[in-house]
Amino acid sequence: MTTALGFHEPFCVVTARRNHNSPYESGSVHHERRTGDRLHSPASFRRPIVDSRRPKVYYYSEMWFLSMRVGIAGAGFMARTHATEYAAMDVEIAAVASPSGPEAFVDELDQGTETYTDASELCDRADVDYLDVCTPTHTHVDLVRTAVEAGIDVFVEKPIAGTIEEAHEIAAIVEDADTTFMVGHVVRFDQGYRTAKDLEIGSEGVARARRLSPFPDWGSGDWFADREKSGGIFVDLAIHDLDYLRWCWGDIERVFARRQRGSRAAHGFVTLRFENGAVGYVEASWEQPESRSLTTELEFAGDDGLVELSSEAESPYQEWTDDGAAVERPVAKSPYRRELEHFVNCLEARTDPDVGAEDAIESLRLALAAERSAERGEPVRPEEVVA
């Protein structure tokens, strides 16, 4: 049996599932500063910067750079995944809010993080530069509104929301307030996928993307199993590749989808016809056995070349012991790290992140079009999906 081990696992939500209980096992966090000391720390100088928006420029003293302060909404798997990255990024996790109580998570952080059960309280009281929304999809719109009303910038996990209406609401909120806003379409920050995008293949022919894993069992209250909350296989899983393919090959004219689903299992296929005439397809599975860790595959076939990228074909680190075998694909910076660094860089440089609300809405629209097609047994044009 081959299982990925350690915190170097491939990046996707569905990957590190076997380790999600202890994302901190290998990553140590040593932050000395405590919230209570802030009046005496350079962080207290940050507020007076003159700007109509929140300060985006951080003072440098002879002593230190002032680290960014993040509030995390959620204390589940994604929150822990992000926290692992923040530990290496000089981003201080100033506060965590979770209705189910973030204490266990915060104890693991061991950096004097404030705890809240209500994210709006976090936004009102905690001194944070941005809110990182790592909660179930159906809660995104309320959390974004809360953060923006408190004048805080926002990073939100993908998908942006479960419906186009909610996604539009989010877009309007962040636009009105001129919030720096980004959606975590993390595949765009994977080095393999990023490299593949720019390889020469001539004119686009057929794109193939697969993403297969066991059913995600790490959602608090099993929210992945509740399609009202997660949106299902296309909205939560296939959206990774739908977004990526759209980023690479442009807008899509029509989708056709089929899927099979059970209470804790789903497997679907989405075929795509791009506006440039090319064809593509995405296969997404939450129905693999526990022994099969996240498997991804990407191919771009063109009239003058072919790109092939496959997780199963790569084994840069392997380990065998009497207890089993493991394949790892370690990278210096995980895709999560790269996406979060990108966001922090945008905050500092006051530039727009690469994946804003409009982009995320179009990817959600594709996923919802796939959902609609699977229900109707007909091809669907994404622009038909307006709700």
């Binding site: 004119s203 686009e204 022919g205 057929v206 193939r208 697969r210 297969l212 056709f256 989808a257 089929r258 899927r259 099979q260 059970g262 299992a265 497997h267 679907g268 296929f269 075929t271 795509l272 016809r273 005439g277 090319a278 064809v279 397809y281 296969e283 599975s285 129905e287 693999q288 056995p289 099969r292 076939a301 063109g302 009239d303 003058d304 070349g305 072919l306 047994g377 007909e378 091809p379």
Partner: protein, 329 residues
């Protein structure tokens, strides 16, 4: 008992592989080659130490069985002529280019005493055999979704002449995996949605073939059978299928037993993959020769060939109409 075989048209690229088996296998007498083009027939015969025969009807009178390697549109005619002479036939795939012709072949077969086989070598792939055993034993539970590929290089020659081939990648690279899935699941394809186009090559037939299908029991089945592999790719193409079940997943890749061979110079310079798995052509010819010898059904029969042709026809109809199309029984 030795059975005598002939090649009935050497138009297909596989003709040489079949001829090699006919020349080598014990219990087979390779009686000769007939062909629409004497030169092509003569060359094929010479390469395998047999004779080119100009008089087709006389040749059919003296052989037990023939392997039809003609262009697709001529399959029906060759089978008719063989049946008239009481000659058993192994026919290249697809069985025919239209449901109408495939049905006529099935009728002819049922109305005669001859054995007719369809060349579906993947059924003989060792990993397919293993998958069949495991599926039948219920090892992966109820099958819930199927994903397959049969990509290849653009074959050129008469394959891209619609008058002879009946179509492009959809015609050429749909039936292998469709047949394999039927073989493995005992279900047939009930519905097809197709994205079909010509985007890789400047040819008068399709080379993009992406089919989103549903089996008779409702299982989704996606197939990419495009001619999307560049000429410089390391092998001819691929043939793979993955079946996800309620209790497990089985993945079969029929080409994934290969040696990496790098040639420094010459026409094949570059990295090539050389297959070293069990020879499915040998098994296919062996099975058909045994069927002839012992008067039993070969591995794949014309009714099964018809089912695959019906999927091809539905795929073209879907591409035309933009809708998911039901496959005729």
């Amino acid at each position: 008992m030795t059975v005598s075989f002939g090649i009935l048209s050497a138009a297909h690229v596989h003709a040489d592989a079949y001829a090699g088996q006919l020349a080598e296998q014990a219990g087979i007498e390779f009686a000769g080659v007939v062909d629409e083009y004497p030169e092509r027939g003569r060359e094929t015969a010479d390469r395998h130490g047999t004779e080119y025969v100009a008089d087709v009807e006389a040749f059919l009178e003296r052989i037990d069985a023939g392997v039809v390697c003609s262009p697709n549109v001529d399959h029906r005619d060759w089978i008719d002529r063989a049946a008239a002479a009481d000659v058993d036939v192994l026919c290249e795939k697809p069985l025919a280019t239209t449901v109408e012709n495939a049905r006529a072949i099935v009728d002819r077969w049922r109305g005669s005493d001859i054995r007719v086989g369809v060349a579906m070598p993947l059924r003989f792939c060792e990993s397919v055999r293993q998958a069949k055993e495991r599926l039948q034993a219920g090892e992966i539970g109820v099958i819930r979704s199927i994903s397959g590929t049969n990509r290849g290089k653009m074959p050129g020659s008469w394959f891209v002449d619609p008058e002879l081939s009946g179509g492009g990648a959809v015609m050429d690279h749909t039936v292998h995996i469709v047949d394999l899935v039927s073989h493995l699941t005992d279900e047939t394809v009930a519905e097809v949605y197709a994205e079909v186009d010509t985007r890789f090559h400047d040819i008068p037939v399709d080379d993009v073939n992406v089919l989103s299908m549903e089996l008779s029991d409702g299982t989704p089945f996606l197939l990419d059978g495009s001619w999307s592999k560049p000429e410089s790719w390391h092998t001819w193409g691929d043939a793979a299928v993955e079946l996800t079940g309620s209790d497990g997943t089985v993945a079969v890749d029929c080409t994934d037993q290969s040696i990496v061979h790098t040639q420094a110079s010459g026409p094949d310079a570059g990295v090539n993959r050389v297959f070293h798995g069990s020879d499915t052509t040998e098994a296919l010819i062996g099975d058909f020769a045994a069927a002839v010898r012992t008067d039993r059904e070969p591995m794949t029969t014309p009714d099964e060939g018809l089912s695959a042709v019906a999927v091809v026809e539905a795929a073209y109809e879907s591409a035309e109409t933009g809708r998911s199309v039901g496959v005729v029984d």
